[in-house]
């Protein structure tokens, strides 16, 4: 658990972060979102003490971070940044092994762990372990960046716009990976982004920041339903909030489930149970369909989603 109580950060006379209170529960993903210069990165960098806080108290699992040895604190926090920050003169394997090596793990343990992580991030170790960052695509490099942050199995993950420099498709893939990995590892995560869609997608709770203050700190759904003020409303966009809300729901939660999975009809279009209601709506609009069958990851038909269910499910 990370707690910030009345935390401020001043650079000379400018106030970057102004007496914010924020609690990140264990295992949840807290996304700090706001335009550039709003203090979101500053907040993140105060948590691993890359920046000192001028006032207030930051504690990790109940312990004041100023009382923890700074290197110990950072070694226990995975850190991923925009543009990867991979060391260009080290191979992928050595980059990922950075923190375990600092912690003095044995060579065998490090090798096993590196292979495990590269596999987790969808990078075949035998292909990628000995490549240099320059030989990777942007998406691959960022996967390595995330693997490096996870390497020593830290309790806390700090991510500073990690997908900010990627193209839309790659970003989309990596967000999916993040969700999948987070379901496996349950890290307490602080994630900074300026992209509200990314925030809505990844967050357990979102903190909307502006001018060094937190305007609203709530679940994506509550933020969409009742934005605290005009700034948050503007950030969400007034026109497509309904769609954004429907994007938060899974098809699997809104459909009517068959009593037993059955063989799918190969002729018709279908939805996956992990698709969002927003995607389901789009498919139905395109095919002018009243309802569509839903398949699970194995390909079996497990239920049916109707147009009405999207309506009731999304609101």
């Amino acid at each position: 658990m990370i707690e910030l109580k009345g935390v401020s950060c001043r650079f000379g006379s400018t106030v970057a972060v102004d007496a914010i209170n924020l609690t990140v529960e264990t295992g949840e993903v807290c996304v700090l979102v706001g335009s550039s210069g709003c203090g979101k990165s500053t907040t993140l960098r105060m948590i691993n003490r890359l920046l000192p806080h001028s006032a207030g108290e930051i504690s990790v699992d109940g312990q004041d971070i100023r009382r923890i040895d700074v290197r110990k604190l950072r070694l226990n926090m995975g850190y991923a940044i925009q543009g990867t920050g991979l060391f260009p003169h080290w191979t992928v394997a050595r980059n990922v092994a950075l923190v375990p090596k600092l912690l003095g793990w044995s060579r065998d343990r490090i090798t096993t762990r590196v292979d495990e992580l590269l596999t987790l991030l969808g990078l075949a170790p035998e292909t990628f372990a000995n490549k240099y960052p320059e030989q990777l695509s942007g998406g691959q490099a960022q996967r390595v960046g995330v693997a490096r942050a996870l390497a020593a199995d830290p309790n806390i993950l700090l991510m500073d716009e990690p997908f900010g420099a990627l193209d839309a498709i790659t970003r989309d893939n990596l967000q999916n990976e993040m969700l999948r990995i987070q379901r496996q590892v349950h890290k307490t995560t602080v994630f900074v982004t300026h992209d509200i869609d990314e925030a809505l997608r990844l967050a357990t709770r979102i903190a909307v920041m502006d001018q060094g203050r937190i305007l609203q700190h709530d679940t994506p759904e509550n933020i969409l339903r009742s934005p605290a003020n005009a700034f948050v409303e503007n950030l969400l966009g007034s026109q497509d909030r309904g769609l954004k809300l429907s994007a938060l729901r899974r098809v699997g939660d809104a459909m009517s489930r068959h009593p037993q999975p059955c063989e799918p009809d190969l002729e018709t279009d279908w939805l996956s149970e992990d698709d969002s209601l927003r995607q389901a709506l789009s498919v139905m609009l395109w095919h002018e369909a009243e309802q569509l069958p839903v398949r699970d990851a194995g390909g079996a038909e497990i239920g049916v989603l109707s147009r009405d269910q999207i309506w009731t499910g999304a609101t």
């Binding site: 960098r45 691993n48 890359l50 290197r71 110990k72 604190l73 950072r74 070694l75 926090m77 995975g78 850190y79 940044i81 925009q82 543009g83 990867t84 920050g85 991979l86 060391f87 260009p88 003169h89 080290w90 191979t91 950075l98 923190v99 600092l102 240099y132 960052p133 320059e134 490096r148 942050a149 700090l158």
Partner: protein, 393 residues
């Protein structure tokens, strides 16, 4: 699409070869002097080495021209071999010249290399560089070629075939002095570079920690570079004499107004600019986000420096050392003026006695040392380039 350079007719070698062809026929190939001081008589190509050798030499140069114009796969290996053969032939031609033209009865008579021969050596050297640069790496060819040529020259000298050559005569009358000059020259220039390197790294780290140091430090080392070298050597005489008079124990260390102490100080002062500038630029150009990532993951400042900044900066730092070393090798020659020893001693003696061959005896080894330092440090820079970085990155 552009054809690779090796598929196009080479223009450099034919130009150099034709220039060489003109110059060897036009200028004196060799000179015979009755003694050390008196200007000698020049001899043209045929007079110097005979018609057969002249024809052979010309044919060799023509062959280079023709071969360079044609496109076949191994032509650069052929060109390299031919250039190397020509370079290896030169000492034999010099010996031939001495046999033909040196009067047998004159004890003080000596042969000297003429302008034509110098031009030929120089142009062959340029051709060798051009041809070698076209050969694919790894660059083992360089070493083999240079070694072969040096061995043939060395054998000719050792066998006494070039004993009448004025340069060899000058060396023969002072081998111990030569060896001492070599030791002094190397010791002085290398220790100056080493001192500068240590100081430069300290200064660079200081400038990175405190930005307000940057301007004054860079201004100071730039200013030092602008003082004329002779003036700096001279300026140091007075304060160092005063020091050693005030503290006699300094004299026992050899620190006096003249000698190695002021020379070393001046050389260090000159060496600072390139090393300080390159070290600082290299270290401060390590991208901030890398340092940030490393620090954020728990690397200590020491680890950041040793594992991240220094390896990334290494090629540029070594480049600074290379420039500095070449410069120091040259400046050390000037330091002979204040009694620091080294090859400069021969140069200034030779100038004083109007004996150009003695000047050459000092100048040629100085050049050779600088070239050797250049080669060694270039290679070192390539070895130290971190894997994963582009060759030109």
């Amino acid at each position: 699409m552009l054809a690779p350079a090796s598929d196009m007719p080479n223009r450099v070698v034919p130009v150099l070869a034709s220039l060489a062809l003109v110059l060897i026929w036009w200028l004196d190939f060799g000179i015979v002097q009755p003694n050390r001081i008196v200007p000698g008589t020049g001899y043209g190509l045929v007079e110097a080495i005979g018609a057969a050798n002249s024809a052979g030499l010309s044919a060799g140069l023509l062959a280079l021209m023709v071969m360079a114009r044609h496109r076949f796969r191994a032509r650069f290996y052929g060109l390299g071999a031919l250039v190397a053969l020509l370079l290896m032939w030169q000492p034999i031609l010099l010996a031939e010249f001495a046999d033909r033209q040196l009067p047998a009865d004159a004890a003080y008579a000596r042969t000297a290399i003429g302008a034509g021969f110098w031009s030929l050596l120089f142009l062959l050297g340029l051709m060798a560089i051009e041809v070698l640069s076209q050969l694919p790496s790894p660059r083992g060819h360089h070493l083999i070629l240079v070694a072969l040529v040096l061995v043939v020259w060395g054998v000719c000298v050792a066998a006494g075939r070039l004993d009448s050559l004025s340069l060899v005569t000058e060396y023969a009358s002072r081998p111990d002095q030569f060896r001492q000059a070599l030791t002094h020259h190397l010791a002085l220039s290398l220790s100056a570079v080493l001192c500068s390197l240590v100081i430069a790294i300290a200064l660079a780290i200081m400038m990175m920690r405190r930005d307000r140091w940057r301007q004054p430090v860079l201004a100071t080392v730039s200013f030092l570079q602008t003082i004329p070298s002779l003036a700096l050597f001279g300026l140091l005489i007075a304060p160092l004499s005063a020091l050693s008079t005030a503290f006699p124990f300094l004299q026992t260390l050899g620190i006096r107004g003249i000698g190695w102490a002021p020379a070393l100080l001046a050389l260090v002062a000159y060496s600072l600019l390139p090393i300080v500038r390159n070290t600082y630029v290299a270290l401060s150009e390590v991208p901030d986000d890398l340092v940030d990532a490393g620090r954020g993951m728990g690397m200590s400042e020491r680890q950041l420096f040793l594992k991240l900044k220094l390896p990334l900066a290494m090629p540029i730092i070594i480049e600074g050392v290379r420039v500095t070393t070449i410069q120091a090798m040259g400046l050390t020659a000037v330091a002979a003026l204040i009694g620091a020893g080294g090859f400069g001693t021969f140069i200034f003696q030779g100038l004083g006695q109007a004996a150009m061959d003695l000047v050459l005896l000092g100048a040629l080894p100085t050049i050779a040392l600088a070239l050797a330092a250049d080669g060694v440090l270039t290679a070192l820079g390539q070895v130290c380039r971190p894997a994963g970085l582009k060759a030109n990155g």
